[in-house]
């Protein structure tokens, strides 16, 4: 499981650059300090729009190639306009994207050619929590289930190992499975 010789696969991941970055950041830990930012603005009702343009890291400021927008709203069954996905769904999207990026990276690192990778994410929620009906019910998901359907040049065990490793290295997986200190204040 340590096939790190020049991979002949092409999953569109620049593995040499990633390895180089890992080495560089090991040598210069200060450069590894990144800050991610999002700016959210209320539109109307439950609709809001988040814009993501810039971040910092490697000791400097960076701009995305373009500004990215995420529209969030509630569905019509909640008497909203449904102008976007619900915020919890966006969390699910973030989790799946993060794990999937990891799958591609780990697969490339291990010399595994991917043909297709599909993830289905399901998460249960008891609305008695956010509606304040039952104080014992939490607001968030009761659990999250991610199901991967992967077609690749590898055995089922090797694919399972890639999926496992992607969880180990995933930021969003860590964010949703472990508590994070959150501070919300007025500017």
């Amino acid at each position: 499981m340590t096939q790190t010789d020049a991979p002949t696969v092409d999953n569109g991941v620049n593995i040499d650059a990633l390895r180089g970055a890992r080495q560089a950041l090991t040598d210069a830990p200060a450069a590894a300090q990144f800050q991610w930012r999002a700016r959210c603005e209320w539109v109307r009702g439950t609709n809001s729009r988040t814009t993501i343009t810039d971040f910092s890291g490697l000791g400097q400021e960076h701009a995305h190639r373009q500004a990215y927008c995420i529209e969030a709203d509630h569905p019509e069954v909640f008497a909203s306009d449904d102008n976007g996905a619900t915020p919890p769904e966006i969390v699910l999207a973030a989790l799946a994207s993060c794990l999937t990026a990891g799958v591609a990276t780990v697969a490339t690192h291990r010399g595994v050619q991917l043909r297709s990778v599909k993830a289905t994410v399901e998460a249960g929620m008891d609305l008695q929590g956010i509606l304040g009906i039952d104080g014992d019910v939490r607001n968030g998901f009761d659990a999250i289930k991610v199901t991967y359907d992967i077609d690749a040049d590898a055995s089922r065990d090797d694919i399972a190992a890639i999926v496992a490793q992607s969880q180990k290295r995933s930021a969003v997986f860590d964010i949703v499975t472990n508590p994070t200190l959150v501070q919300v204040e007025l500017a």
């Binding site: 065990d157 496992a164 949703v176 499975t177 472990n178 508590p179």
Partner: protein, 442 residues
Amino acid sequence: MRVPVVIVGAGPAGLAMSHHLVTAGIDHVVLERGDLAHSWRTERWDSLRLLTPSWMNALPGHGYRGGDPHGFMTAQETVAFLEAYRRRFEPPVLTGVTVAAVRRTADGFAVIADAGTWQCDVVVAATGASSEPRVPALRAELPTRIDQLTALDYRRPAQLDPDGEILVVGASASGVQIASELQRSGRAVTIAVGEHVRLPRSYRERDVYWWLDAIGQLDERYDEVDDIDRARRHASVQLVGTNEHSDLDLNALGAQGVRCVGRLVGISGRTAQCSGALASLVANADLKQARLLHRIDEFVTSNGLEGEVGPPRPAQPTVVPAPPTSLDLAAFSTVVWATGYRPTYPWLDAAAFDHRHRVVHDGGVARMPGLYVLGLPFMRRRRSNLIAGFGRDAGDLAAHVRAYLGDVARTRAGARIGVVSRVEWPSEQAVARAANDVLDRT
């Protein structure tokens, strides 16, 4: 007092080093703060047996001679084994001598101890890889009502507050053994499980360490693995040495009634928060175990051993009931931290360390010329922190020490002031020959 080499610590590693220096004709002294094998006399719980089978725990020139080579020695038997080693070879050990400081001098090192100061050219730090427990900072946030102890303080169930539930944090060898013993004593135990390594006690009718040895896994070298930093951080394996040769993984703990929860990640008031990633870690450990068993199967096939060993047996997947992500600490009286150990060298010259206070070394040869470390995880090989690994590592280091002392002597003779020229390693073959010469594995 002047002596070419001072070894600090008379545990099995220091004794192995002494043996190789004797063989190489290098004068030295071993300074030990307690008695020989101090950590095995004072820092182990009562029921502890070695994880490694007795046949395996060989030191250079000295193997197990008892009646149960496939059994597992108790701490007292381990002390007796090392005492026998001392009687047989009479290494130059001075007991009851605590080293307080080691300083670079213009002419080597000054080793400052309570019993005097030694001037030397070489210092070998053999004070162990588990000098102190590694405990997460969140220990400070536990309610003061809760007793806390570490695996180094734990001795027996009766030592704990008789009431309330017990939380064992960490599910490597120490954690699973302590959790199992406490549950057996009638206590309600919860174990917080982070990243862990699972292996069966035996496979195909051989002990798992027999296999790790046979397939060459224990001999993997530090300069050959992909990511040595990560390999060095690997937790110990979920194993126990018992007469029954039974497994002690999460399935075994679950069957006993121990409750498994995810890694302890936060404490908020009287609530302990546990990671929701347990299923992922469990799946990962199962995959890694399956990979190792597969490697063993391949080894059996390619060496035609089918007739000699048992049939392959697929491992049972680990089943843990969906764990809660928070625990109400009100029910708990005691937390046992089995979150690992780390080496400490409070006496060592500050220039020897990196910014994370680890001795900077390459395979045991410190960046600080003349300083050597021994007994650390994966220091030169995967077996480096096992009794069965000290002999080979000490052999390598002794060869390096000999060359280094030669260089020092030449420099002194030429009255040349400057840096000692680079010492070359002996070839791998030479080291293997030397190791085979002295390794007594009967």
